[in-house]
């Protein structure tokens, strides 16, 4: 997994490339722990996310919970295969997907 991060004041854009699974999720989690403070607008670009597992979903859920309190979060460019996971797990009701 690779991450491309762009921070602009209170805006944070994260592009996740590759696979977000139990091996790579801790990396994203740690990054969010460090970066989310004071962020009011968080965007995940998932155009190149090809796989997401339970562990990855937990990190996304936890980011959503954080952003519910301090601003807003959206998820963009979700690929079909990941979208299928979001649909089946009910994440479509929780996330703002564009």
């Amino acid at each position: 997994m690779d991450m491309e991060i762009q921070k602009d004041g209170k805006k944070l854009d994260i592009k996740i490339v590759g696979r977000l699974d139990s091996k790579t999720a801790p990396e994203l989690k740690e990054m969010l722990n460090d970066e989310l403070k004071d962020i009011e607008e968080l965007t995940f670009d998932l155009s190149e996310l090809i796989y997401i597992s339970s562990a990855g979903l937990r990190v996304i859920l936890s980011a959503q919970k954080t952003m519910n309190k301090q601003g807003s979060m959206k998820v963009t460019n979700v690929q079909d295969i990941v979208m299928e996971v979001f649909k089946s797990t009910g994440f479509v009701d929780i996330l703002t997907i564009e």
Partner: protein
């Protein structure tokens, strides 16, 4: 206990509370001894009192309580109900504060019921219900505990893992778990009773509660007992300590809270105000943990801890075994019996005994023998229960529910004095059947744990559903496991699991022999799937202490939730292990691909027809890429691999040509003549018809077309 004169005014409130419990408890035990000798007399008296007290309520008038003089009258006049019958009343009570609808008793609280999907129910609890709760969940229990270990512990706070979050309804009543309500009433004194600070008992969102519970428990060596809703929460806490002791000890030593521990800033600040460096205790703990966890650690960390109070029947027996690995064998359990939001249904007979007996003055009991399922003219009262038989439970409680189906199934397993001892079997709405057999949670659990023990892996949790769409129909187990021994394959486990499940139910075995039901299938779930399930429930408003693992899946949405989170080779290896060939984009090369695939599929027992269909797909796509993708010539990479369950092949076609998604092409107009037709379009129709999945993506300047063909 000796009777000693104690000057109550010199005691702390904690000590006063426990002493009150212990002395009240003596009376409760005496009165139970009397009542259990003739339970029907006291249970009938209870019903008549409820009827008399509630004859002026809206519900009482509707069903003519005033003219009910016997149990028979009651059964003739008042219908069997479930929650839906009360929804409108409860809405009026909670939103408008209307009184005297279901009950004349003062409603002091609304309990959030657990276990079901969707919106949690609001179950009213009256002041009488609360008294009963105090008598049996506190007074009785602490009297028995004091009898066993004396009263040296009463001045020490205990570890409380139950949730005390309580919210307020529009009517001004409180809403939340019953235990939370009682805890809440300790108010400012709560810190004297329990080790965990308010930050863990009434947690703010995004607070790592496990850390706080563990941290504040570890610094206190004198904890005498632990209270939890489900015993699994205690196990979770112990496992958390095992995994994170270094961090915990370091924080205790320095009086810090590690940066990695999640909590809102204000929570962190307020907690930091409550702690200071404790190097001595930290050193003590470090020595304990350095010795490892092979020996029981609880007696070393908390030498006085000798009791766990929690719900322990049925599904939790496996947790008990695992808890004892931490506590050693000399540890006491108080299994709080069958306690529901509707009231206390049964009470443990003694410590460490999972048997629980009916309580003649807690609720009025009726039972429907399961053999008469659905025919409520066949209900019996508690004096007619027969040992070994199974019953559906119907209760009339002290909080406005009359002849209410709790949807629980119990078995009568004996008598305490003349009062039935019962064992909780399963929830009625949690029973699976494909062809007449009844597979309940108990059987599913037995088969799962037996398999776990036989192979020595760690079963985190499991769920099962009945797949009636497959042919033949079958049961599907979904398991999240850890530490699977290297020499064990999924097929080994699946085979044995199926045998173990058959062992629990002869009818299932019989149907499988006849081929009516197929062999049980096992699927592995990804790591952290049950954690995710729990967190999602919490995100949707369930209270964390109330989320139980869903052992039986019925709803389509639950089934697809777990099925989309399967653990497969992808998760393990970071990608499929694929065969690969690279060819020039020349349709002459078609034969060499075909040869390779042919070789690859040899000995795989695949029908000729399927092979031909696959060849057709590959041919169409390959030729299509050769013709359209490159202006002159380029390379085409072909990756392929076989997957099991069901047997299928995945083939990727990758080229560096111009971006071109063949799947976007419209379905060809077959009415046009050959010259006018788009050739690629027609080929695609053949591909679509024969493949089971088609995906296209453009990535890193590559066209990637994936096809999947199930054999």
């Amino acid at each position: 206990m000796d009777s000693i004169k104690i000057d109550m005014s010199e005691l702390s409130l904690t000590e006063q509370f426990y002493l009150k419990c212990i002395s009240e408890g003596a009376k409760v035990r005496e009165s139970l001894d009397v009542m259990t000798q003739d339970p029907m007399k006291y249970n009938t008296e209870l019903l008549m009192k409820i009827i008399e007290d509630n004859k002026e309520t809206e519900y009482g008038q509707k069903y003519d309580f005033a003219n009910i003089k016997s149990i028979e009258d009651y059964q003739n006049k008042v219908p069997i109900t479930d929650y839906d019958n009360y929804v409108d009343y409860i809405r009026r009570m909670t939103e408008n504060g209307e009184k005297n609808l279901l009950t004349s008793y003062e409603i002091v609280h609304y309990a959030k019921s657990s276990g079901t999907m969707g919106n949690p129910k609001r179950i009213p609890a009256s002041s009488l219900n609360k008294e009963i709760n105090f008598k049996y969940n506190y007074a009785y229990l602490f009297n028995l505990f004091a009898e066993k270990v004396g009263i040296d512990w009463i001045k020490y706070p205990f570890l409380n893992l139950t949730e005390t979050s309580i919210s307020t309804l529009p009517s001004g009543d409180t809403y939340g778990s019953i235990s939370g309500k009682i805890m809440g009433e300790f108010g400012d004194q709560l810190p004297d009773f329990v080790t965990s600070p308010i930050e863990a008992l009434k947690p703010k969102p995004k607070t790592d509660i496990r850390y706080i519970h563990a941290r504040f428990a570890l610094i206190n060596p004198d904890i005498p007992f632990t209270v939890t809703s489900f015993v699994s929460l205690f196990l979770e806490t112990l496992r958390y300590i095992k995994r994170n002791w270094e961090l915990l000890v370091k924080d205790i030593e320095n009086g810090t809270i590690d940066e990695s521990i999640k909590m809102p800033k204000e929570v962190r600040e307020s907690l930091l105000g409550k702690i200071e460096p404790m190097p001595e205790r930290a050193e003590e703990l470090r020595q304990i943990f350095k010795e490892g966890f092979d020996e029981p650690t609880v007696p070393k960390i908390w030498p006085k801890m000798s009791l766990l109070i929690g719900c322990g029947s049925g599904g939790f027996s496996n947790y008990i075994k695992k808890i004892k690995e931490f506590t050693g064998p000399d540890f006491n359990f108080a299994f709080i019996g069958l306690t529901a939001s509707e009231g206390i249904f049964s009470l443990f007979v003694e410590l460490n005994n999972p048997d629980s007996m009916l309580i003649p003055d807690s609720m009025f009991y009726e039972f429907l023998p399961l053999v008469n399922y659905g025919d409520y003219s066949k209900v019996v009262t508690l004096d007619q229960l027969e040992e070994g038989k199974e019953y559906e439970v119907i209760t009339t409680n002290l909080s406005g529910f009359y002849r209410y189906r709790m949807k629980d199934v119990i078995r009568c397993i004996g008598m305490h004095n003349h009062t039935p001892i019962i064992e909780f079997l399963y929830r009625l709405d949690q029973c699976l059947s494909l062809a007449g057999e009844k597979i309940n949670e108990e059987k599913l659990r037995k088969a799962a744990y037996k398999t776990e023990n036989e192979f020595g892996f760690d079963l985190i949790d499991f769920s099962v559903y009945a797949d009636s769409t497959s042919s033949p129909m079958k049961y599907v187990y979904l398991m999240e496991i850890e530490d699977l021994p290297d020499d064990v394959t999924k097929e080994n486990l699946q085979e044995r699991l199926n045998e173990n499940l058959c062992g629990t139910d002869p009818l299932l075995f019989n149907k499988m022999e006849k081929g009516i039901i197929g062999k049980t299938e096992l699927r592995f779930l990804q790591p952290e799937t049950y954690l995710l399930y729990k967190e999602l429930k919490v995100a949707r408003g369930c209270s964390p202490a109330q989320v139980k693992p869903p052992r039986i899946l019925r709803e389509e949405e639950d089934i697809s939730f777990f099925n989309v989170l399967l653990y497969d080779d992808l998760e393990q290896d970071g990608g499929l292990d694929m065969e690969e060939i690279i060819l020039k984009s020349d349709s002459e090369n078609l034969d060499s691909i075909m040869l390779k695939i042919e070789e690859y599929l040899e000995d795989k027992n695949i029908a000729m027809k399927s092979k031909l269909q696959l060849e057709l797909i590959i041919e169409e796509i390959f030729v299509n890429i050769c013709n359209y993708s490159y202006e002159k010539e380029g390379e085409i990479k072909i990756q392929y691999c076989l997957l099991e369950d069901p047997l299928r092949i995945i083939v990727n076609f990758i080229d560096n040509g111009m971006e071109f998604n063949p799947l976007n092409k419209a379905v060809p107009d077959l009415t046009l003549n050959a010259d006018e037709r788009d050739i690629g379009g027609l080929g695609l129709t053949i591909v679509r018809k024969n493949a089971d999945r088609l995906d296209y993506k453009y990535e890193n300047n590559q066209n990637i077309l994936t096809i999947e063909k199930i054999f």
